[in-house]
Amino acid sequence: ATAKPLEGGFIPVIPLGVAHQFWQAVKMGAEQAAEEYGVTIVFDGPQEETMVDKQVDILRANLTNENLIAVCMAAIDEQSVLTDLTAVKEKGMPVVGFDAGCGAIADAHCSTSNYAAGELAAQNAIRLLNGEGKIAIVGHSQTVVDAVARVKGFVDYIQANSKIEIVDTQYGDGDHLKSADIAKSMLIANPDIDLIYASNEGACVGAYNGLKEINMIGKVMLIGFDSSAAMKAGVRNGEIAGAITQDPVGMGYKAVATACKLVLGEPVEGEVNENGTIVVDTGCYWYDATNMDEAHIAPLLYD
C-alpha cells in the first residue's frame, strides 16, 4: 500500500449536531478522506444544534489531543470559538470551516451557501408557480444558522423577483409529526396556498405526510430540502415537486481533505474571499423527478 502522508495525525471534525442523517452523510465523507490521508478523526457534535457551550467544550476537549494537526468546524456561533481557533492557528495549524463554517478565521471554508440554496429553491418555486401565488414555509429552526439562511435566501429572492405572497412561516424543530401538523393547520387556515417550502428533511417529509393526510397532494405543491428515502420516493412519484440537495458526503470529504492539503502545503482549489479564506464550494442542486437519476445528482442523494 502507498504510504499515507499524514499517518497518525488527528483532526477533530465538529458539526452543529449529530442526530440527523445529513450529518451522518458528512461523517461518511470525512471518514473517506481520513482513510485516504491516514489521519484519525473524531466526528463529534452537541446533542442539540443549539448548545453553543457544549460545542465549545467538545472543541476544547479535542484540542488537548497531542497528535492534533488541524481542525474542521461548523460553528453554531462563530464568536464563541474564536479564541480557541485563534490559538490553533497560532500553533500553525489550519482551521477549515464546513457547512455553517467558522467565520473569517478559517483558512478554508467548504460549504454550500445555504442562502444561495434558499435562492435556488426560490427560483424553482417561481418557475413552478409562474411567478404568482401564495407560499407557506415550514421551517425547522429559528436559530440554527444554516436553517435561518435557507429561509432568508428563499424569502428575499421571492420578494425581490416575484409577486408571490408568503402567507405564513412556522417552525417545527425538524420534527416530522409537528411539521405535518403545522402544514395541515396552515393549509386549513389558508386554503389558497399554492406551494409549501420546507427547510429540511424533517420539515419536508412532515409536510408531505400532512398533505397526504388531508388529501392535498397534487393540489398544493411541495418543495423541500435535503434527502432521505422517503423524500426520494416522494420526489420520484412527483408528489414532492422537487428539493434542494447539498452534497454532504462531498462536503465532509472536502473539509478533511482540504485540511490535510493545507497541512501538507499542497494547493487547494477555490476562490479566496476578502478575509483570505479559500472558499471551496461543495454545491447545491435542485433535484426533481426528471433529473434525480442523472449521474451528477444521484450520488448526492442519500437515505
Binding site: A19, H176, E213, A229, A233
Partner: protein, 320 residues
C-alpha cells in the same frame, strides 16, 4: 358513590367547558378552524400525545413521574422497524415486538423505582437518556422505513369504515382510552395505583405487594408509549430515531390539566383525554392564527399554569 361521581363529573364538566370556550374562540377568530377537516386534523394530532398522556396518568397517580415516555415511544417503534426490516419479522410480529420493547423499558424504569427505590424523576430521566441514545445507535441515525409493509400507514391513516377523513388512528385512540379507563376504574391495577399514590406505606401494610404493582404501572406506561409509537410511525411510514425527547412535557401537562394530581392518589382518564385535546386545540388554533412559534411557546406556558391553577381553585372551592 354519588359523592365521588359528582365530584369528578363537575371537574370534567369544567374542563370540557374550557375546551369548548377555547374552541369557540378560535372558531370565531378564524373561520375554517371549526371545519370538519380541521377538527379531524386536531383529533389526529391529539392521538400520539393522548396515548402518552394516558400511560403517564397511571404513573402520576402513584405520585411518580415518567420522563422517558417520549423516547420510549421512539425506541419501541425503531426496534419494531429494525425487527421488520433487518431481522425479517413479519409486520404483525414486528409490531408486537415494539410493544414488548415498550413494556421492557417501562418495566425497567419500574424496577428501578419500585425495587431499587430510585426517585422516579431520576430513574426515568436515566431511561430517557438510554432510550434516546439507543434509538440512534440501533438505527444508525437514519429513519427506519416501513415501506416494505404497504399497509403499515393504513394502521393510522386508513379511513375507518370508509368515512372520509375519519382515520383508523381515532379508533385506535378510542380503544386506548377505553382500555385505560377500564384499567383505571375497574381493575385491581387502577385501584392499587390510586392506593399507592394516596399512601404507599398504608397500601403496603394492607398486604399489597406495592413493589410488583408499581413495576406494572410503569410497564403500562411503557406499553402506552409503544402504542403511541405505533401510531406515530404509521402516520409517518417510518420510525424517526431522533424524535421523542420533549414529548413527555406535553403529555404530563395534558394529564395534569385533566385533573391528575402530581402528589398522587387521584386522576381521571377522561380528564386526561380532554387535557390532551385542550393542548391540541390551543396549538392548532395559535398556528392557524399565524401566531409566531416563539409566542406560541409563551402562550402555551401561560395556559398550562392557568389551567392547572383553575383546577386547583375548583378543588379548593370544593374543600370549603
Amino acid at each position: 358513590m354519588t359523592k365521588t361521581n359528582n365530584r369528578s363529573a363537575t371537574q370534567l364538566l369544567i374542563i370540557v367547558s374550557v375546551l369548548i370556550v377555547m374552541f369557540a374562540f378560535f372558531a370565531l377568530m378564524k373561520p375554517g378552524f371549526a371545519s370538519y377537516i380541521n377538527v379531524m386534523t386536531i383529533a389526529l394530532s391529539t392521538c400520539v400525545n393522548g396515548l402518552l398522556a394516558l400511560g403517564v396518568t397511571f404513573v402520576i397517580t402513584t405520585a411518580g413521574i415518567d420522563l422517558s415516555i417520549g423516547t420510549t415511544m421512539t425506541f419501541s417503534c425503531v426496534m419494531s422497524g429494525i425487527a421488520f426490516t433487518s431481522w425479517g419479522f413479519p409486520i404483525g410480529l414486528a409490531i408486537a415486538f415494539g410493544f414488548l420493547v415498550g413494556a421492557a423499558c417501562g418495566g425497567t424504569s419500574g424496577f428501578a423505582v419500585a425495587k431499587m427505590k430510585l426517585p422516579p424523576f431520576i430513574a426515568t430521566l436515566a431511561m430517557q437518556m438510554m432510550t434516546k441514545g439507543l434509538s440512534l445507535v440501533v438505527s444508525g441515525i437514519k429513519p427506519v422505513y416501513f415501506t416494505a409493509a404497504p399497509n403499515y400507514q393504513k394502521i393510522a391513516l386508513g379511513g375507518f369504515l370508509g368515512i372520509d377523513g375519519f382515520y383508523n388512528a381515532f379508533v385506535l385512540f378510542i380503544l386506548g382510552i377505553a382500555i385505560a379507563y377500564v384499567l383505571y376504574s375497574r381493575t385491581l391495577l387502577g385501584r392499587y395505583t390510586q392506593a399507592i399514590g394516596s399512601n404507599e406505606e398504608s397500601a403496603r401494610l394492607s398486604g399489597i405487594n406495592t413493589t410488583r404493582w408499581k413495576m406494572l404501572v410503569y410497564m403500562v406506561s411503557g406499553l402506552f408509549s409503544a402504542f403511541a409509537g405505533l401510531i406515530m410511525s404509521s402516520r409517518l411510514g417510518s420510525a424517526q430515531p431522533q424524535l421523542g425527547a420533549g414529548y413527555e412535557s406535553e403529555a404530563i401537562a395534558a394529564a395534569v390539566i385533566g385533573g391528575t394530581s402530581m402528589s398522587g392518589g387521584e386522576g381521571s382518564i377522561p380528564g386526561t383525554v380532554i387535557g390532551a385535546f385542550i393542548i391540541s386545540v390551543l396549538t392548532n388554533g395559535l398556528r392557524s392564527m399565524a401566531v409566531t412559534t416563539e409566542w406560541q411557546t409563551v402562550v402555551t406556558g401561560m395556559v398550562l399554569a392557568g389551567a392547572v391553577y383553575f383546577d386547583l381553585l375548583r378543588k379548593r372551592g370544593r374543600a370549603n
